[in-house]
């Protein structure tokens, strides 16, 4: 990397940090104001509401008495109170004591404070007066008189509200707002970087290329792109100046210069981000939506059946990658991206309108096909545009943006679904996918440019026999079977199926489920680049793979001791941390593990074999999760996956201890 690149990078980082700091500071200020307002405004509003609730209940009691029902024979008050509690979840209990000394009292369900004498002696809120809320056993209690028609007292009502309710409500709303703010900040950063790279980096790199050519007294390559600002026009003038000098053209001069690869990479990144964001909006609630339309198919029970939409999505997304490669030879990247997005949009629409479970499965299969095609074309575009020596960075960018978008989609999807419902969220997915396709169409190169770039970077042809040494390489196969595959299967089973269904059964809201599930993507997006840098610098790749798997396994085993929401949160967080360590390190190990085969096959093919080998079996994750859940329950199914990963990690350690290392390579 030249000093020029470093300086440009530093400048960009500073712009970004300042912009982010301003955005986050403003967001924090707004959130603080909102939270403070709610803390102050909510309790009086709630008290006023409960005065109304109490007055309505009092009116019903008075009416019953007016109809001639003696208080002592009043039936059904407990059911009436229960109905009120269902409609007002913040109410912890309702208690009625008759004023005529009759022995009858009536309680709702819920927790009634034990000290009944104190409950009956709390100060009353008079008619038209400010509500008087007393504290009793951690509850805020409002006591109201029930007056008869003649003005006499029929009794008193006590309405208790959970003392932590307001804090919980404000906390929940803040969580939602923070989630939206984080996703907004991520989107802002992506857009800022895109603008910066197109309007600043591209012309600056054009100037750099011009300077390089001029220093060799050569004519710089004509530009195939144009930036309409001062810098861009300056680059045009510099090129015009060089032409006036009548210097010789370089050998490949007629082809001209494509958009600089960092800018192209940025375009691909934004298109992929938008598409994956659209596709993962349904991530946190898909099993819950499936439950709504579920009808037993082919005699399959609900536990396994509900995993089918997730399974079929992963299956089609993996399977399409094998025949999909042929499409890239015939069509341009933007055409394949557009086709994948169109299929995905169709899938989202079918899912949104699905009248039954079978149609939902068809919708998810289409969405999976769409994701597979877009995933493949973005990967191919990176390999096409990013030079050989920066390809690892390109792939890291690709992985990073995938998880960042997964986090954003899952977190945002939970909030959106809470507001507008499952089906409407699928429609939002379709709209965002269309926008992603439009962006890709405008920014991806034409088919002629793609073909030219592919020809320039094409590797020598290989035969099927050339793959054999790779498939019998014990370290390669061990890395695939004992690390990549179990990690991926556990990941798909936990994040896409077991966690949402289990969290829902524990009465978590859709937004809460979205937040917890999104923890995985967020951890991956934040920790993976840092971990990769550290591991690269120290050369701890194998240790990182083993430690990452162990950490993920430990998260799963935690469910044995904490079989609740906290346990699921820890398992997902541990998986994010563990896979931040293991996934990039697996990729980094491949060149050394396959040192002999990489010379023949080329690294891209080895990466492709590894990825297909890990992803295609991943579809069994949800089904296996469903089957284990049917046998042992959702919590214990996660524990079993943890156990499997422990066993796989031990086998990997044993294999690398005893299997011979490729010659000339340190294990």
């Amino acid at each position: 990397m030249s000093d020029f690149d470093l300086a440009l990078g530093r400048f960009r980082t500073r712009v970004l940090v300042v912009a982010l700091a301003v955005i986050l500071a403003c967001s924090a200020l707004v959130l603080g104001v909102v939270a403070r307002h709610q803390y102050v405004a909510l309790p009086p509003e709630l008290a006023a509401k409960h005065v109304n609730v109490g007055n309505l209940l009092g009116r019903e009691i008075r009416r019953a008495v007016d109809l001639g029902i003696p208080l002592a024979e009043l039936r059904g008050l407990d059911l009436l109170f229960r109905d009120v509690r269902v409609a007002n979840p913040e109410i912890a209990f309702i208690h009625f004591t008759p004023g005529n000394g009759a022995g009858m009292t009536a309680d709702s369900d819920g927790t009634i404070p034990g000290d009944r004498a104190r409950l009956r002696s709390l100060p009353l809120t008079g008619h038209g007066n400010e509500p008087v809320v007393s504290e009793l056993d951690g509850h805020g209690v409002l006591a109201l008189p029930v007056a008869g028609r003649d003005g006499g007292v029929l009794g008193r009502l006590a309405i208790g509200v959970d003392g932590h309710y307001v804090a919980r409500l404000v906390g929940d709303r803040l969580f939602d707002l923070v989630t939206v703010q984080i996703v907004s900040a991520i989107l802002t950063v992506e857009v800022l970087l895109l603008c910066f790279d197109f309007w600043v980096t591209a012309p600056m790199l054009g100037i750099q290329a011009w300077a390089g050519a001029v220093s060799r007294r050569m004519l710089p390559l004509p530009l195939h792109w144009r930036v309409d600002n001062e810098l861009g026009r300056f680059v045009d003038r510099l090129h015009g100046l060089a032409h006036a000098m009548r210097w010789p053209q370089p050998e490949h001069g007629r082809r001209g210069a494509a958009l600089p690869w960092p800018v192209m990479l940025r375009f691909i990144r934004v298109a992929l981000f938008a598409f994956v964001l659209a596709d993962t909006l349904s991530l946190s609630f898909l099993p819950l939506f499936a439950r709504e339309v579920f009808t037993p198919l082919w005699g399959i029970g609900s536990e396994v059946g509900l995993s089918l939409p997730v399974m079929i999505y992963w299956l089609t997304s993996a399977v399409v990658q094998l025949p999909g490669a042929g499409l890239l030879d015939r069509f341009s990247h933007r055409a394949v991206f557009g086709g994948g997005a169109a299929v995905s949009v169709a899938g989202a629409l079918v899912s949104a309108l699905a009248p039954n479970f079978a149609v939902l499965l068809a919708g998810r299969a289409l969405s999976g096909l769409g994701l597979g095609l877009v995933f493949m074309v973005c990967q191919a575009a990176i390999l096409t545009h990013v030079p050989q020596e920066r390809r690892a960075y390109g792939i890291a960018t690709f992985t990073g943006v995938f998880f960042l978008a997964t986090f954003s989609g899952a977190a945002l999807g939970g909030v959106v679904a809470e507001e507008i419902g499952f089906r409407a969220t699928f429609l939002v997915s379709a709209v965002v996918a269309v926008l992603a396709a439009l962006f890709a169409h405008l920014s991806f190169g034409s088919s002629r440019e793609d073909r030219r770039a592919r020809r320039a970077q094409a590797a020598a042809p290989v035969s099927a026999a050339d793959y054999r040494p790779l498939l019998v390489n014990p370290r390669f196969v061990g890395l695939l079977l004992f690390s990549a595959l179990p990690n991926r299967v556990f990941n798909v089973a936990l994040v896409f199926y077991l966690a949402p269904v289990f969290l829902f059964s524990l009465d978590n809201s859709k937004a809460e489920i979205g937040r917890i599930v999104a923890l995985y993507g967020l951890t991956m997006a934040l920790v993976a680049p840092l971990a990769a840098r550290l591991v690269d610098r120290r050369g701890w790749h194998f240790a990182s793979v083993a430690a990452g798997s162990a950490l993920t396994a430990a998260g799963g085993l935690t469910m044995f001791f904490l079989p609740g929401t906290l346990g699921v949160g820890i398992a997902i967080f541990a998986m994010g941390l563990g896979q931040s360590l293991s996934i990039p390190s697996q990729m980094a190990m491949l060149p050394t593990v396959t040192a002999g085969q990489a010379d023949v096959l080329g690294l891209p093919r080895i990466y492709a074999v590894f990825r297909v080998g890990e992803r295609i079996p991943a579809f069994i994750g949800p089904v296996l999760g469903g089957a284990l859940a049917a046998l042992f329950g959702y919590g214990n199914a996660i524990v079993v996956f943890g156990g499997w990963l422990v066993l796989a990690t031990l086998l990997l350690l044993g294999l690398y201890r005893f299997a011979p290392a490729p010659s000339g390579v340190e294990p």
Binding site: A64, L67, G68, P70, L74, R75
Partner: protein
């Protein structure tokens, strides 16, 4: 065919077809509806007539009261066949069976070639008045007026917390027998004891003088509630019958509105007779003015039923409804 376009010819043809279904329309005179009552004029008949008047359907009525006499129905059938009205309207199951006959009845004995609309029929399927509720399968359709027996049973459970129920029904009527069958099933499932009796004489006909002894036998079983399934036999006796029940300390739950409004039944889950009549009027309009064949008009009931509670009776018996039911019940005699 000079001057007669194809469109006009088609219009003329379709007019001839419509004329076959709706003869009065083509002739520009009011429709002729033959209304058959079973026990004199009711709110159902009034609802039907009011609806048609408000809808602007001009109707000339011929009204006959069978006075709960099956033999009188045969004479009415003969008169209908002579008069050839545009439509026959019939109130109650027994009258409908006497006029339209069962689905496989002899056309010589019943009205089968003139549209029949029946109202206030409890269970037209069990009575074999139609083949299917959605597609009656014959020249007759109509309106049911009763909430399903299982729903009435649930209402009684909630209202009286009943463990033991008594049922007095008219075993001579098709609907009564069917309702008791259904009640036995739901009561067995809920673990509720059922005592069933009927004021039937040896000749198989119900007798007013047998009502008192029947009630006394049922009261001896100490039920939490007395249930009276729908029957035209009880309705004219609403007041004396329910007064006897109250005297015996029995809270009564009835399937018919007049038993609660005019009598001393304590409660009931009922359809408003007037609204049932209006719904029948709507079906008559569909046939006369809309040109629909009764086969195309489904047999339906109102989608909403009212829980009526007579608080005067409740206070007298000291049997009180739960406060939750007061929220949606229609209270009679509140003070």
């Amino acid at each position: 065919m000079m001057g007669l376009s194809r469109r006009r010819l088609l219009a003329l043809g379709s007019g001839l077809v419509a004329g076959a279904v709706v003869p009065a329309r083509a002739q520009g005179r009011p429709f002729h509806v033959f209304a058959v009552q079973w026990r004199g004029a009711t709110d159902v008949d009034r609802g039907m007539k009011d609806y048609l008047a408000r809808a602007g359907v001009e109707v000339r009525y011929t009204e006959r009261n069978a006075r709960q006499d099956h033999k009188a129905l045969a004479a009415i059938v003969a008169e209908i066949k002579r008069e050839r009205p545009d439509l026959v309207y019939v109130f109650a199951t027994e009258a409908a069976l006497g006029i339209a006959g069962p689905v496989d009845g002899d056309p010589a004995l019943y009205v089968t070639d003139i549209p029949v609309v029946f109202a206030a029929v409890g269970d037209p399927l069990s009575a074999r008045l139609v083949h299917d509720l959605r597609k009656p399968g014959r020249n007759a359709t109509g309106v049911m007026h009763l909430a399903p027996v299982s729903v009435q049973f649930e209402a009684m459970l909630s209202l009286f917390a009943a463990k033991r129920m008594a049922v007095m029904y008219n075993a001579a009527e098709t609907y009564g027998r069917g309702a008791v069958e259904q009640l036995r099933e739901v009561a067995a499932r809920a673990g509720v004891e059922l005592a069933v009796d009927t004021p039937l004489a040896d000749d198989g006909k119900p007798r007013i003088e047998l009502i008192g002894p029947t009630l006394a036998r049922l009261a001896a079983t100490r039920p939490d509630v007395l249930y009276l399934p729908s029957t035209s036999f009880f309705i004219p006796l609403a007041k004396p019958l329910t007064e006897q029940a109250v005297a015996l300390g029995l809270p009564t739950f009835s399937a018919n509105e007049p038993m609660i409004r005019s009598g001393d039944a304590m409660a009931g889950l009922v359809a408003s007779f007037y609204e049932v009549g209006q719904f029948a009027g709507y079906k008559i309009e569909q046939i006369l003015r809309g040109g629909k064949h009764p086969e195309q008009v489904p047999v339906e009931s109102l989608s909403r039923f009212s829980l009526l509670i007579n608080m005067r009776v409740s206070r007298r018996l000291r049997v009180y409804p739960p406060i939750t039911m007061l929220r949606y019940a229609e209270i009679i005699d509140a003070h």
